[in-house]
């Protein structure tokens, strides 16, 4: 889609299937339906409001809270994901601390074990912005302080509904991130993805300033129909392969 935007297509959207191998769960299915759209010349803040408006069409949203990644952790886990010493993060989780561990590791644990259960009972639509630099996706950097990326995620009842970016415009930075992501995939025991040279060429020819977002439609429908599992709103579902 970004190739089309670089070619001057303007604002575009698509609704289509997306695939995540091996991801099974109440809110995960290997094939799901994604709604993705881009707004050239828009800021991420404008797009965030558009996402909120769309979600409100489907869900009873009594209020909207916009908080930074740092603020949500401070409020619901009591520690700062960007600055608290790693020993403190480990202690909060009651897990043994190892000095060579990475901050991202502890923050992921905190998210899963402390933050997610805390935000699940909230009535409001929660928009989290300012993600840490170790989870950049395809977002522009914000030099801060604190140094973060211009990325947002939308949560309702603890379910992540959408992920959006102020889209990265720098082609060298983009190429480097694709390579870093591939190195991580290999380290995690997966296969490297082929580098999309057409995409990088389009980036070099110039991507206009642009905000983009992807929203999990099955999750939105699941919440709209008050279901507990995304498979309840899917026409066809895969069966979990037995161990």
């Amino acid at each position: 889609m970004k190739r089309l935007i670089a070619a001057g297509m303007g604002a575009i959207y698509q609704i289509g299937p997306a695939f995540r191998k091996g991801e099974w769960g109440r809110y995960h299915h290997p094939e799901f339906t994604m709604l993705e759209w881009y707004r050239p010349q828009w800021t991420m803040a404008q797009l965030m409001m558009e996402v909120v408006d769309l979600v409100k069409v489907f869900l009873p949203v009594p209020s909207v809270r916009v908080m930074t990644f740092q603020e949500v952790f401070v409020q619901w886990t009591g520690v700062d994901p960007l600055t608290s010493p790693l020993e403190v993060l480990a202690k909060t989780l009651e897990r043994p601390f190892s000095p060579d561990s990475q901050r991202s590791h502890w923050v992921d644990w905190l998210f899963v074990e402390r933050l997610e259960p805390a935000i699940a009972p909230l009535d409001c639509l929660l928009v989290i912005t300012g993600f840490p630099p170790w989870e950049p996706g395809m977002a522009e950097l914000d030099c801060g302080p604190p140094e973060v990326v211009r990325r947002f995620e939308v949560f309702f009842k603890g379910v992540e509904l959408a992920n959006g970016y102020q889209e990265l415009q720098n082609p060298e930075e983009q190429e480097q991130r694709l390579n870093t992501a591939n190195a991580q995939r290999v380290e995690d025991g997966g296969d490297a993805l082929p580098i999309d040279e057409h995409f990088l060429a389009a980036m070099r020819s110039g991507l206009p300033p642009c905000a983009g977002v992807a929203l999990g439609l099955d999750r939105l429908l699941m919440l709209a129909f008050d279901k507990k599992n995304i498979s309840e709103v899917m026409a066809f579902r895969e069966h979990i392969p037995l161990p």
């Binding site: 809110y27 995960h28 992921d108 899963v112 996706g137």
Partner: protein, 187 residues
């Protein structure tokens, strides 16, 4: 060894040197970060439920558990005794292991016993058992529709609410999950 995506509801695992059954498993992937599986596990010995989270790189030991159907023989001051009808091998379970199931123990009846590391740790009664009423108020003839009930004490000591027409000495079918009267047993 089970990898994180093999942690499924119903799988029995060994954690902290104790046997557990997974009652809920949830795949979680925060942000664009690493994948986790959150499990809710029930202890097979004392029934307590706790939560644990595992990273995609971690593994969990599968519990070495065997289920066997065994016949109830008799109870004494210390133990309840069961026998494997195929091998005639006998096992004894303590009062605390048997717990409330003692109200549904009937000689010759078959019960499912869970063995962990070759030791019995829990037992499940059949869904229905037929037991004799040893004590209750006399029956009222003809009253089969009013829906009124009276307490009846069974041969095992269990107290069950029964309809008014049922008599002492009658054999009744009882649902062991709910502890409720189902019907008078025929024959």
């Amino acid at each position: 060894m089970l990898t994180h995506n093999q942690l499924r509801q119903g799988t029995r695992v060994e954690i902290d040197d104790l046997p557990w059954i997974i009652v809920d498993a949830q795949f979680v992937k925060p942000g664009k970060g690493q994948a986790f599986t959150k499990i809710k596990i029930k202890n097979l010995i004392d029934g307590r439920v706790i939560e644990r989270t595992y990273k995609s790189s971690e593994t969990v030991v599968k519990a070495s558990i065997v289920d066997k159907d065994m016949q109830f023989l008799y109870g004494d001051d210390e133990f309840w005794h069961f026998m494997d009808p195929a091998s005639y091998e006998q096992v004894a379970m303590t009062h605390s292991q048997v717990g409330e199931v003692k109200y549904w123990l009937k000689e010759q009846e078959s019960y499912q016993i869970v063995f962990w590391k070759e030791k019995p740790i829990a037992l499940t009664p059949p869904p229905f058992v037929v037991l004799t009423i040893t004590q209750c108020e006399p029956g009222i003839k003809g009253d089969t529709v009013s829906g009124a009930t009276k307490p009846a004490i069974l041969q095992t000591g269990a107290t069950v609410k029964v309809p008014l027409f049922v008599n002492e000495g009658d054999r009744i079918r009882v649902n062991t999950r709910s502890g409720e009267y189902v019907e008078r047993a025929k024959g």
